[in-house]
């Protein structure tokens, strides 16, 4: 059963990921991204991380990709893109180098921590398997006690990003008005 779920979810993730980079139409690419995110959510559920799965769907599936689609629709860039001309000539070789590098780092990390990964049940707290709410309780306890500083700093960072966006868009607007006048 576990294997079956894993294979299905992994297939979803891979098909989605390949779709994102091979589809010419930006909307189709965004939809493939949704497929990948859903696959990851299923993997979370299979590992008893229900809360993470829900957050994955709400934040990534429900908010971020919707925002992507919004921008694609509003800007009207939803035509298939012409890939024959290259705006930045270095980006393809650079992408290859970065891709191989990231893959290498991930494989190295897996190989390095092999023992910890294969030790059965290591890392999974037995309390979270027995009691459904324990998972969420543990997560919130560690966020709001041990890591409360990082948590608050992250939220401040997000706030700064929002305020910054508003300020920048306002300033540009005022500038344009001056130019036209």
């Amino acid at each position: 059963m576990e294997l079956f779920v894993f294979v299905c979810a992994a297939a979803m993730v891979l098909v989605g990921a390949i779709g994102v980079i091979t589809r010419n139409n930006p909307v189709h690419a965004a939809l493939s991204l949704v497929l990948t995110l859903f696959g990851v959510a299923v993997l979370f559920v299979a590992n008893n991380a229900h809360f993470l799965a829900a957050v994955q769907v709400i934040v990534y599936g429900g908010a971020i990709v919707v925002l992507f689609l919004f921008v694609i629709m509003l800007l009207g860039v939803d035509q298939a893109e012409d890939l024959s001309t290259e705006p930045l000539t270095v980006q393809r070789p650079l992408a290859l180098v970065v891709g191989v590098g990231v893959a290498g780092v991930i494989i190295a990390a897996v190989v390095k921590s092999q023992d910890a990964l294969f030790a059965r049940g290591a890392g999974i707290n037995s309390a979270t398997v027995q009691d459904a709410d324990a998972n969420i309780r543990q997560l919130s306890r560690s966020i709001f006690s041990d890591y409360v500083f990082a948590f608050e700093v992250t939220s401040v960072l997000l706030l700064i990003a929002v305020v910054g966006t508003v300020v920048m868009s306002r300033r540009q607007h005022g500038h344009q008005v001056e130019e036209s006048a």
Binding site: V27, H28, A54, A63, L69, F70, D133, I136, H173
Partner: protein, 408 residues
């Protein structure tokens, strides 16, 4: 674990036949009940609204016209299936299902009955297995409903985009902007309920609301209920928030280009969502399948077993809200788009956030043993100061925009 397996449709652990059959039975029942409820809701809405407008409404097909929806459905099946030439074929075909499936998925986590009295905790025994009268009771419970409601946006958004014409696109952009904006208020009012009940699971939330005084609508102090109700109406794109299908401006909204079966799916999803949202309101704020009881006296429906009685109570409570939704539609004129956005961002979100902080402060005060009135008054003062700051910021920005010569 094995005994409660039927509760868990993910089937972690050994696969046994009886629980599997129970789960399958539940899936079929929930699906059929959902479809029937939707069918009856369409009829109910048409009949009630006709009554409110001094008309007769559907009265030809079946007794009181109750089969009208069935007749309409059959007609839609046999209509020609049109795909516009400029549409994106794959997405155009996919979109109705993306609207339809989430509408049914939310129904899976609503407790549809069961006996929550005493220490029975809503469990019933079927074929020697303890189970709940709800399809799934995931530990994330109510978060599942929020996740599904954020997924439901895709159906509408992609339907409008893939039609390849302007009116549906405008309709869908409006709809998705509206749904994304009101989701925040919706989530924050749910958070208030989760704060007072201390659990995410829907059956847990129901179990906590044993008497009338324990209903969350009273425990959370009525404000989250109102916010949830308004935000839910906006999420459903129902009047007075039905800007999605403002006929005067948009022809027909995101589903303009759809015909036959695909249109029927959107139509079904819309009414299904209304039923689910009403059931969700009842579950969160009005005790779900719990009977009405004040103190130790419980209103008991005679001749019916306690578990079945829960279903009857749920049905009665949901009917009240369905009636209210129809009433909204018959009474309230449609909002203007900027009014809609102002209500969502400048009223509902700050109000729900403020109320959440008030409730949280109360609980902290309670556990620390502070004086209740001092806590309430000081929180109210803090909220008042932040609200006046918000008003000040809004006024400044409005003045600046006026100076720039921008209207909105």
């Amino acid at each position: 674990m094995m005994q409660n397996l039927a509760i868990d449709p993910l089937l972690t652990g050994e696969v046994l036949w009886t629980p599997l059959l129970i789960v399958l039975l539940k899936v079929v029942v929930v699906f059929v009940v959902g479809l029937l409820a939707t069918m009856l809701m369409v009829w109910f809405e048409r009949k009630v609204i006709a009554g409110m407008q001094n008309r007769i409404g559907p009265n030809k097909a079946g007794p009181f016209g109750i089969l009208q929806t069935l007749a309409d459905g059959i007609k839609l099946f046999f209509k020609e299936d049109l795909i516009p030439e400029r549409s994106d074929r794959f997405v155009f075909k996919l979109a109705p299902y993306l609207a339809f499936v989430p509408a049914f998925l939310t129904f899976a986590i609503i407790p549809l009955g069961g006996d929550f009295r005493g220490d029975k905790d809503g469990l019933v025994t079927w074929f020697g297995h303890q189970t709940r009268v709800q399809l799934a009771d995931p530990p994330i419970g109510i978060l599942f409903a929020l996740a599904i409601s954020s997924i439901a946006i895709y159906g509408i958004m992609l339907a409008g985009w893939s039609s390849g014409s302007k009116y549906p696109l405008l309709g869908s952009v409006r709809a998705s902007a509206q749904m994304v904006s009101y989701e925040a208020a919706l989530g924050l009012s749910v958070a208030a309920v989760v704060l007072v009940t201390g659990t995410l699971s829907t059956s847990g939330i129901v179990a906590k609301q044993s008497t009338l005084g324990n209903w969350n609508v009273i425990v959370t102090g009525i404000v989250p209920f109102f916010i949830f109700m308004v935000a839910a109406t906006a999420e459903l794109n129902r009047p007075p928030f039905d800007l999605v299908e403002a006929e005067q401006e948009l022809v027909g909204g995101f589903n303009t280009e759809y015909a036959s079966f695909r249109f029927a799916l959107f139509y079904l999803a819309e009414f299904m969502n209304t039923v689910t949202m009403s059931a969700l309101i009842v579950t969160l704020f009005f005790g779900g399948p719990q009977p009405i009881s004040v103190g130790s006296t419980t209103i008991d429906i005679p001749l019916v077993g306690n578990a079945l009685e829960g279903t009857i109570w749920l049905l009665l409570k949901v009917l009240v809200f369905l009636y209210i939704y129809v009433w909204f539609r018959a009474t309230l004129p449609r909002f203007r788009y900027d009014q809609l956005m102002n209500l969502g961002w400048k009223v509902l979100i700050p109000a729900s956030l403020g109320w959440f902080i008030l409730l949280a402060a109360q609980r902290v005060g309670q556990s620390a043993g502070w004086d209740r009135y001092v806590v309430t008054i000081s929180t109210a003062l803090v909220l008042l100061v932040s609200y006046s700051l918000l008003v000040l910021a809004q006024r400044t920005s409005t003045n600046e925009r006026k100076r720039d010569g921008v209207m909105f």
